[in-house]
């Protein structure tokens, strides 16, 4: 398998869709979350600045300077300025940075470093920032520079507000945001699964129907597929049907051919046997050639018929009843031999393929065993996992080791084979090979040949 195909076949359609939609969902919801979070934080920051600005103006509006550069500020409307450690504080600094006034709320506060130089405090301009204080932690501030003409002095008005409440507000917003987005993700995932399930159902049904055809439970695909698949299913039905017809036509034609070739052969064979004028030697030569032609016809026709099956149209055949029929036939033919047949075939042993192939396979193997045994034949058939194992033993002369190779040569031609076990085994071997199985010849514990067949269906 090339690396390209491995990538192409690694993911199923459903996996691809789930994966793509999943990535899209995470990206979309993640980015939405980030954007919303950022917009909310910006709007919070803007509202904090606006509030601080208003407080600065409120202080500025009521502050009265004394001659000694200190300020008198009457009670402010905002109660938090009068309440100690309320989180809202106001300061007035002179040009040199000395404190000229602080709100009652800031009584406990040590001085802090706003990190703002005098140059930054331009009169008439508002400056925003944040600062870390010992008592209140992080705080936002607004600082406004002003020039007091009577005193010939610049002052800066500073209002600080603790960020804790806004932080809490942002935290709450964030947890709400992620909760909703998470819920949305779960809902969309479920919806996606349902949509995929619904959308993929026809494809799944197609796969299931094909499996049913493969298993032999169904003749062809239904026509009730969505329009996108209807063409496909229709074409597949045509293909299956034409393949079936082709197979049966092929078989019939070959059978007729066999019949029409063999009867003349029988006539020729009869003529030479009855012709008094023929020399014994000539008669033997012609007989041999007729027999050779016959074997070639038999072998090639069998081969041709066997190799037509396609794996897609395999159907299960329970072996026991088929074996019973073949055994009954062979018992009739070999009744004089009084053969002792020991059969160990589990009831569920199954062959996946054409019944006629199974009949030919067992017929040829068993005929050899019956023919060459002295008295004893043993048949063992079982499915191990899904694989089929057939063992046929006899107490005959067996097959000599040096003869086994030509028996097992695939595709060896009939006219190069010796008569006897060869032709039956060759036909059996061709059937087994066409199903991807293996045939071995061993010595049997009964003393003769042990034919061992294994067909794997995976």
């Amino acid at each position: 398998m090339s690396p390209q195909t491995s990538i192409q076949t690694k993911y199923s359609l459903q996996q691809r869709l789930v994966l793509a939609f999943g990535i899209l969902l995470i990206l979309f919801l993640g980015l939405t979350g980030l954007v919303l979070n950022r917009a909310f934080q910006e709007s919070i920051a803007a509202s904090v600045e606006e509030r601080l600005q208003l407080q600065v103006y409120a202080v500025l509006g009521v502050a009265e300077p004394d001659a000694d550069m200190s300020f008198f500020v009457p009670d402010l409307e905002e109660a938090r300025f009068s309440q100690i450690d309320s989180g809202l504080y106001a300061f007035i600094f002179d040009q040199q940075g000395n404190e000229a006034w602080r709100s009652p709320s800031a009584v406990n506060m040590a001085l802090f470093d706003m990190d703002v130089t005098a140059e930054d405090i331009v009169p008439g301009q508002m400056f925003y920032g944040s600062v870390e204080t010992e008592e209140q932690g992080p705080m936002s501030f607004a600082s406004y520079g002003t020039y007091w003409s009577g005193l010939e002095q610049e002052f800066s008005f500073v209002v600080l507000e603790s960020v804790a409440p806004t932080d809490a507000e942002i935290n709450e917003f964030q947890s709400n945001l992620w909760l909703w987005l998470g819920g949305l993700a779960v809902f969309l995932s479920l919806a996606q699964y349902a949509l995929l399930y619904w959308g993929m159902t026809p494809l799944k049904r197609l796969a299931h129907d094909l499996a049913e055809i493969e298993a032999g439970n169904k003749e062809q695909l239904g026509e009730d597929y969505p329009s996108e698949l209807r063409n496909l299913s229709h074409n597949m039905n045509m293909l299956i049907q034409s393949e079936r017809q082709r197979q049966s036509r092929y078989r019939t034609t070959l059978g007729d051919l066999a019949h029409s070739l063999k009867t003349p052969l029988a006539v020729i064979s009869g003529v030479i046997q009855q012709d008094q004028k023929l020399e014994q030697k000539d008669m033997q030569d012609v007989s041999e050639q007729v027999e050779r032609m016959n074997q070639i016809v038999t072998y090639q026709l069998n081969r041709a018929t066997k190799s037509t099956h396609t794996r897609m149209l395999l159907s299960p055949v329970i072996i026991r009843p088929v074996l019973a029929k073949i055994s009954a036939a062979l018992n009739k033919v070999y009744i004089d031999k009084k053969i002792n047949v020991e059969s160990d075939v589990s009831a569920d042993s199954t062959f996946y393929g054409e019944e006629s192939d199974l009949i030919e396979l067992l017929g040829n193997l068993l005929d050899n065993a019956y023919k060459y045994c002295q008295q004893q034949v043993r048949i063992q058939i079982q499915n191990i996992d899904k694989n089929l194992q057939i063992l046929i033993d006899d107490d005959g002369p067996g097959i000599a080791e040096q003869d086994r190779h030509w028996v097992l040569e695939r595709g060896a031609r009939a006219d190069t084979r010796k008569t006897g076990q060869g032709i039956g085994l060759a036909v059996a071997l061709d059937i087994i090979s066409s199903y991807g199985g293996e045939l071995k010849v061993e010595n049997s514990t009964l003393g003769g040949a042990s034919i061992q067949v294994e067909i794997k269906y995976n």
């Binding site: 009867t263 006539v267 009869g270 038999t298 018929t305």
Partner: protein, 225 residues
């Protein structure tokens, strides 16, 4: 022994008839299944040879029809299709053995011989009664181990009687199974054969193997060994 041969190929049928008649069988031959069934129903046969590929009624159906009429004579199939599906189907329909085309005439003769003997209940090729032994493949009679010469008709009569031991065989049945249909059925000839057989089988008249059942026929009365 009277045989029914059903084969559609004229040349092959003629060859088989000749070979079988050379071998002292009486052969009725027809070329299609319907005629085969008619013959099987109308006449009494000892065995039939039936080709599977027949016109009008195929071999399998013919065999089934013959068996449905409770005819028990052995049937040998001739088949051109050397596959087990056909063989199993034929044997399952009621045939007893098969021969694949093309065949050696000798093979047909050997199979027929075995079928006839088997149908009479003998497992071995020789029919043994006391010190009498008839080798059906060599067509040879031995009395106390010594070969005894028989004419062709004497052999036929003895073989038929031995294949039906203990049964009364009428002169009519004997003529039907041993002679061509148009043969002049003079029962005196049979009596001559039987008398000669008795002399050859039992010169001392100690065993008396062939009874004459008055007004009915003959019976081979020695139980098989």
């Amino acid at each position: 022994m009277r045989l029914l041969l059903v084969e559609d190929e004229d040349l092959l049928r003629a060859q088989l008839v000749k070979a079988l008649e050379d071998n002292d069988y009486i052969v009725d031959s027809v070329q299609d299944g319907e005629l085969g069934l008619y013959q099987a129903n109308e006449f009494s046969y000892d065995a039939a040879i039936i080709d599977l590929g027949l016109p009008k009624m195929n071999g399998i159906d013919l065999i089934k029809a013959i068996r449905a009429e409770a005819k028990v004579f052995p049937i040998l199939i001739l088949t051109a299709r050397d596959n087990w599906t056909d063989k199993v189907e034929g044997l399952d329909a009621g045939a007893d053995d098969y021969v694949v085309k093309p065949f050696q005439i000798e093979e047909i003769k050997a199979r027929l011989n075995a079928l006839l003997r088997r149908a009479a209940g003998f497992a071995k090729p020789s029919l043994d009664f006391a010190h009498l032994s008839l080798d059906t493949s060599a067509k040879q009679l031995n009395v106390s181990g010594k070969p005894v010469e028989l004419t062709a008709y004497e052999y036929k009569v003895l073989e038929y009687l031995m294949l039906h031991p203990g049964q009364v065989i009428s002169k009519m049945e004997l003529t039907e199974h041993l002679y061509e249909q148009d043969y002049d059925r003079d029962s005196n000839v049979l009596e001559v054969f039987v008398r000669r057989l008795r002399q050859k089988l039992d010169p001392q008249e100690t065993l008396k193997p062939i009874d004459t059942v008055r007004g009915q026929g003959y019976r081979f009365n020695v139980p098989p060994n």
